[in-house]
């Protein structure tokens, strides 16, 4: 995907140093391991954290992509795989950030609480282009379920990204692209 300005290359896990350098509105490309999780998986992950139990993946520096992909046709690792609405995960995100999560990827706006938690725990939320699941799937080179397979398309998956394009939507300084836009 071509971008309007040169994008910042990032690879996971994300470090505090990398996060500090990101400002809302910057285009990035992400490479490395990213975990897919959406609504029902978040409910379970949050329940584990509340009970003080370990998560099914190492959350330190990790990035979660809010996605429920379509099944892959033969010869592909994944089907269509664009972002789902991030706001639906708002209730669970601060808990995950507290546990060490450093980045999330979705579409649309986040709550005030998530925005504050991103500042408090020094993390970042990216927006990927909603509805561009075919195009974005080309930047996912591996995909396997690692937990909650009973949830079908909502299972937690370990994905490997290669130059996955996104924009910094909420940075660790409390700024957001959506607010920049409404201020004109």
């Amino acid at each position: 995907m071509e971008q309007e300005t040169a994008s910042i290359k990032l690879s996971t896990p994300l470090t505090d140093q990398q996060i500090s350098s990101l400002r809302a509105g910057a285009w990035v490309t992400l490479s490395g391991v990213v975990y897919a999780a959406r609504d029902q998986a978040h409910r379970r992950l949050a329940a584990l954290l509340e009970k003080g139990q370990p998560l099914p993946f190492d959350v330190q520096g990790a990035v979660i992509y809010y996605v429920g992909p379509t099944p892959p046709p033969p010869g592909r690792v994944i089907g269509s795989a664009g972002p789902t609405t991030a706001g639906r995960m708002d209730a669970f995100t601060p808990l995950l950030l507290k546990a060490g999560l450093k980045g999330t990827i979705g579409k649309g706006c986040r709550s005030r609480q998530v925005q504050e938690a991103l500042v408090q725990y020094r993390a970042v939320h990216f927006s990927a282009m909603g509805g561009f699941g075919a195009l974005l799937s080309r930047h996912i080179v591996d995909s396997r379920p690692i937990a909650y397979e009973d949830l079908g398309p909502e299972a937690v998956r370990r994905l490997v990204f290669r130059d996955f394009p996104a924009i910094v939507a909420y940075d660790c300084y409390g700024s957001s692209i959506y607010e920049q836009r409404s201020k004109g």
Binding site: M1, E2, Q3, E4, Q40, V67, G68, P69, T70, P71, P72, P73, R76, G79, S80, A81, G82, T84, T85, G87, K107, G108, C109, S127, M129, G130, G131, F132, G133, A134, L135, S137, R138, L151, G152, P153, E154, I167, I177, Y178, R181, G184
Partner: protein
């Protein structure tokens, strides 16, 4: 009476769903190309180009445009002279059964995402078949069967709204509410939108109208000049929001506003807005 084979309805329904999921409809790509000529924001233009590129990748690689292949909504218009010929092993299976079977076949064959929870508030287990489909059946004169499929994503459906106004309310007030609903949908519902508006009817009819309005081809105008000009004004006001593609700013916030109306109670003015995203997947066939 004219007989239509049960299996051909299954096949047609499945094909409509798969094609809708994989191929961006021509009315949308034409509207996006048109928007590209007037869009003033470079970022918005880039995103609109990517929208077309995404559609090209999906069509070429035979995968869905968007991973949310949606709930399957089917508007079926059955001619009064049509009879469904079910094979003996299917007994008294009806048109509705054939459509359900077709929707499930599309999920399996077309590798669409199973996006249906069996019930809303308890376990929410996935039905794994992407069914049931939501079917709206009407009987019309003649011996044809017309099937229109709409694959409706959750992100934009979540932003749809209903409101009861006083019957003396002005068109301006109702329009302000419509524009506000679009603004509230914001980046979450994947703009640029197609906005379906239902006015009149009763509670449930009004919502149905707003969804039916989505099926009208983008680029067509309302036959009634009053509502045609209302659609035009609404589209202008929606663009003035500056939301733009993906909510990242720009002139192109909606590709169309379609109004459907019905008579209503003298005490009521029901209004519904059904937001559809740029992945406005619809496809029709006539048997």
């Amino acid at each position: 009476m004219r007989s239509i084979a049960f299996d051909s309805i299954v096949r047609t329904t499945a094909d409509l769903c798969i094609q809708a999921a994989y191929e961006l409809p021509e009315d949308i790509s034409a509207a996006v190309r048109k928007a590209l000529q007037t869009e003033s924001s470079p970022r918005a233009r880039l995103i609109l180009q990517q929208l077309l590129e995404n559609a090209a990748v999906a069509a070429h690689e035979r995968i869905p445009i968007c991973q949310d292949t949606g709930l399957t909504v089917v508007f079926a218009e059955a001619g009064s002279e049509v009879r469904i010929a079910a094979p003996p092993e299917k007994g008294s299976a009806t048109l509705m059964d054939a459509i359900q079977e077709g929707a499930a076949l599309a999920c399996k064959e077309g590798l669409l995402r199973a996006s249906v929870a069996a019930e809303p508030l308890n376990k929410r287990l996935n039905t794994n078949t992407n069914t049931p489909a939501f079917v709206h059946l009407s009987i019309v004169p003649g011996e044809r069967l017309r099937l229109s499929v709409l694959l409706k994503g959750g992100g934009c459906e979540n932003k749809s709204r209903f409101e009861m106004f006083n019957p003396t309310e002005s068109p301006q007030t109702v329009c302000r509410w419509i524009v506000q609903t679009v603004q509230d949908a914001g980046p979450n519902a994947c703009p640029p939108f197609v906005v379906g508006v239902g006015l009149g009817g009763d509670f449930e009819w009004c919502c149905l109208l707003s969804k039916k309005a989505l099926l009208r081809p983008v680029g067509s105008t309302h036959p009634d000049p009053f509502y045609a000009s209302l659609e035009e004004t609404l589209l202008k006001d929606i663009h003035a929001l500056g939301l733009g593609p993906q909510g990242l700013g720009g002139d192109t916030t909606a590709l169309a506003v379609h109004i459907e109306t019905a008579p209503c109670h003298i005490a009521s003015l029901p209004a519904a807005v059904n937001i559809d995203c740029h992945a406005h997947r619809h496809k029709t066939a006539v048997l």
